[in-house]
């Protein structure tokens, strides 16, 4: 089974993120870059699937040069090879453009399964997996909390509101996984040493045969119109209980339309 895992380098999940005034884009230099936390679950699931069924795992990432660190981390967890798409012309790409680039990088390589984390912790759109599936014309199984492979059939369990939905599809499929699915392994020391020698294919807009105008900021279908800093935390409301504390709390919640 040939599995691709699409990963993204994002600013440290827990860091205070900033938008740049100049182009209203995320200032990626303001925080350390890390492998998107949810993508670690995708890498883990891919590794488990090939451990159970055989095959190989290829990491696919679109991002600037420094994203190579995150690609390397995924390799040190145990993936076999990687494709890194990097080009200054990709800066400012929205979800549509990203899906176009990823679909082009994935197409024609005989992957049976492509796995994504359910969202990136910076953009939080959750739409790229579906867009990639649509562009490739493959089945789409999203928000999986459990994955089973039987021959060429992939079955998932998706957690719904109050119910679990079982969905299955024939390969090739695009999967996205949620954090309930597994506990990602750490890279190992041996994995770190081995990752240095694993093949990483570098691609850019030209080598993918893409029109530069269709990607990057110029090809974006969406843009950030405006933004404002989060207002400072206001002082809390203190309820003094003089026998009617419960009623006061209830009134407050009603006023805030919380109940």
């Amino acid at each position: 089974m040939k599995i691709a895992v699409c990963v993204k380098q994002v600013p440290d999940t827990w860091a205070e993120k900033r938008l740049r005034e100049s182009d209203r884009r995320l200032d990626r230099e303001s925080a350390d870059g890390v492998l998107n936390e949810l993508d670690e679950y995708a890498v883990e699931e891919a590794l488990r699937l090939v451990e159970a069924h055989g095959g190989e795992v290829t990491i696919v990432s679109m991002g600037p040069e420094r994203a190579a660190e995150s690609v390397r981390k995924a390799l040190s967890m145990g993936a076999d090879a990687a494709i890194h798409v990097s080009d200054d012309g990709l800066a400012g790409s929205d979800a549509l453009a990203t899906s176009l680039v990823l679909a082009r990088a994935l197409d024609g390589r005989d992957f049976d399964v492509v796995i994504f984390g359910s969202e990136s912790t910076d953009a939080r759109m959750s739409v790229v997996p579906a867009m990639v599936a649509e562009r490739l014309g493959w089945a789409m199984l999203t928000f999986a909390q459990k994955v089973d492979v039987d021959g060429t059939t992939v079955a998932i369990e998706r957690a719904g509101d109050g119910e679990t939905v079982s969905v299955r599809a024939s390969m090739p499929v695009v999967l996205s996984v949620v954090e309930k699915i597994n506990e990602p392994r750490y890279p190992s020391f041996k994995g770190i040493m081995a990752a240095k020698k694993k093949p990483v294919e570098s691609l850019d807009i030209a080598s993918l045969g893409l029109d530069a105008a269709a990607v990057g900021a110029s090809g974006a279908w969406s843009e950030v119109a405006d933004f404002a800093a989060r207002p400072a935390k206001a002082a809390g409301t203190v309820v003094t209980d003089e026998g009617d504390g419960g009623a006061q709390v209830a009134s407050y919640l009603v006023e805030q339309k919380l109940i």
């Binding site: 390397r72 020391f189 041996k190």
Partner: protein
């Protein structure tokens, strides 16, 4: 997000901008490595620290290992963290490739392990002791012993201990009485009791490999009659599996002030609870030759002493980072010139006395971290430097610095923990905040692996006079070279440090002029205090030189902490050196009745 466990930026500065550890990768032993692998190991250690070690640091303190009368039970979070650590392969990262190691430079391994020590010193102590145990056996054990005991340790299946002290013999190992009797099959049977054995019994590993100092019949008295034995909790079968229970029995656990998650035990050997092989006594095998036990054990103890220094730094460092974070976020009071009580309060970091404590703490923990990493680099130099002269010099320097690496952080990084409580005020004295635990944990480091008093005696009594003072001369030479490079804004610091190390030389000669050990024993601790401060001032001058021409808050912070150390700390040793020059014998001569 900036961590409160360790400073990623400081570690990177020390490794790459100061010590230039990337240069090591040109040496054959390290040629498989690169900045990339070093960074990945640091990141892996940080992830383990944040996700598996730090979360149960408090729980391990409040739920210390429980002795049910037969066995010790440790909270499950410890086993989970140690399994993740073993799985990561970091246990063997610095060992030779031929035994399955990764030949990571010691200095990078040491830097990486500070994350785990700061996150949860009690949990990381189990594998740390085991690695030291494995290193001893790799140096002095037979091939068969390495195969039988070291490989399972590297794989994380067995853990190890060091069994030196006895109830009546703590710092004085000459009084060890545990007996080891040679058997016809070449093994030994051991009988005796060992005290203060960290990780002596637990349910965390398949087996526990005890390294035990004992005395064979007819052995010379004192430390020259001590031999070293491997005594596993379970005998190991030829196929590597664990077999019969050996007669090593837990007699009880010690309840400590800190490091509570590391079980500390009293072990009885050969008291008859079990009869392995149908006979009396715990079965052990000799390491190396009889009567060389203490020399072998020192292999482990020297490593353990650098490890203790690193632990003291890590605990002081995390205390400082917690205090810094608290001071930035705790609003309290207003500037002295603001008389308007309705004006907003300022964070306490704006108050001069809080800044004094934070800057002092920064100078202690960052200075001591530099020393620990420098010592670790000396290990790499000792192993891989290109010329034999350079290797010998590194060994000599490491020898003379080891007691300082162990004792200075144990004293001064503990002071940083003390300040961390003070910065927190009343909250710091409660168990709701972690700084009190850091203090309690760190208080051990001045005691175990040779008390600070023992380190001081080792320093003045042995290290600075060995080989006719070659160690001290080597140190003097290195420090003088740094001083000679100090120019511009740093010239005055260079001169101050040169004067200080010159005075140390004079004082050393004065203290040994009469070759009277009373004088040395009376003055060893003061001497260690003074030389320790000189060495840390050296570390600061080196760091300030590495910051030359660089701007930004991080480098300004380095310069501020270095200036603090030279302006406020180094001058403290002047009166101490005056006192030492007098060769006072008060502490040797004092009548006990006066105390």
């Amino acid at each position: 997000m900036k961590s409160r466990i360790m400073s990623e930026q400081d570690l990177a500065f020390l490794l790459y901008e100061w010590l230039d550890v990337e240069a090591l990768t040109s040496r054959p032993r390290y040629r498989e490595h690169s900045r990339e692998t070093f960074d990945a190991v640091m990141e892996l250690s940080r992830e383990l620290a944040e996700q598996d070690f730090a979360p149960h640091n408090r729980l391990g303190d409040t739920h210390e290992p429980h002795f049910d009368g037969t066995d010790v039970h440790v909270i499950p979070e410890v086993a989970k963290a140690l399994a993740a650590f073993a799985e990561s392969g970091l246990m063997a990262a610095t060992l030779d490739a031929e035994v399955g190691g990764g030949q990571l430079p010691q200095v990078v391994g040491r830097a990486a392990s500070t994350w785990l020590q700061a996150a949860n010193i009690a949990t990381i102590t189990y594998p740390a002791l085991s690695v030291a145990n494995a290193n001893l056996l790799l140096a002095h054990g037979s091939a068969e012993q390495v195969e039988r005991f070291v490989r399972p340790i590297i794989e994380g299946r067995f853990f190890g201990t060091m069994c030196l002290s006895e109830p009546q013999a703590g710092s004085s190992l000459a009084d060890v009485v545990t007996r080891a009797v040679l058997q016809e099959d070449g093994t030994y049977r051991l009988f005796g009791s060992k005290m203060w054995i960290s990780a002596g019994d637990h349910d965390l590993s398949e087996n526990i490999v005890h390294l035990v100092l004992a005395r064979t019949p007819g052995a010379p008295p004192g430390v020259k009659g001590l031999s070293l034995f491997i005594v596993p909790k379970f005998l190991v079968n030829d196929d590597g599996s664990c077999g019969e229970r050996n007669d090593v029995v837990l007699a009880g656990v010690n309840h400590k002030m800190g490091y509570r998650g590391t079980v500390n035990t009293i072990l009885n050997f050969g008291e008859g609870t079990y009869q392995p092989g149908g006979g009396q006594g715990a079965i052990g095998t000799l390491v190396g030759e009889e009567h060389h036990g203490l020399a072998y054990m020192f292999h482990m103890m020297n490593e353990a002493r650098v490890g203790v220094g690193a632990a003291a730094v890590a605990l002081g460092y995390t205390g400082y980072l917690h205090a810094l974070d608290y001071a930035r976020n705790r609003p309290q009071g207003r500037p002295a010139w603001d008389k308007d009580p309705s004006s907003p309060q300022v964070p306490i970091i704006r108050h001069a006395d809080v800044r004094r404590m934070l800057l002092a703490s920064k100078s202690y923990v960052e200075g001591a971290l530099a020393l620990v990493l420098f010592a670790a680099l000396l290990l790499d130099e000792q192993l891989t430097a290109e010329t034999s002269d350079a290797r010998d010099e590194a060994a000599l320097l490491l020898d003379v610095l080891t007691p300082i690496v162990k004792a200075w952080p144990s004293q001064w990084c503990l002071k940083a923990n003390d300040y961390a409580i003070q910065v927190h005020g009343g909250y710091g004295y409660t168990r709701e905040y972690p700084v009190e635990q850091f203090y309690r944990d760190n208080r051990l480091n001045a005691i175990h692996e040779g008390t600070d008093g023992i380190q001081a005696i080792d320093l003045l009594g042995r290290k600075v006079v060995m080989q006719s003072g070659a160690g001290l001369r080597a140190l003097h030479g290195r420090i003088s070279a740094t001083c000679a490079r100090a120019d511009g804004d740093l010239a005055a610091y260079g001169q101050a440090l040169q004067d200080a190390i010159n005075r140390i030389g004079g004082v050393t000669m004065a203290l040994w002029a009469d070759r009277d050990p009373r004088i040395a024993l009376s003055n060893s601790s003061l001497y260690a205090d003074a030389l320790g401060h000189v060495v840390i001032a050296w570390m600061w001058l080196e760091q300030m030189q590495a910051c030359a021409g660089k701007s930004g808050a991080f480098y300004d912070g380095k310069r501020a902490a270095g200036a603090y150390f030279f302006d406020f700390e180094l001058p403290r040793i002047g009166p101490t050196l005056d006192l030492l020059q007098r060769c006072d014998t008060t502490f040797s001569d004092l009548d006990d009745a006066c105390l």
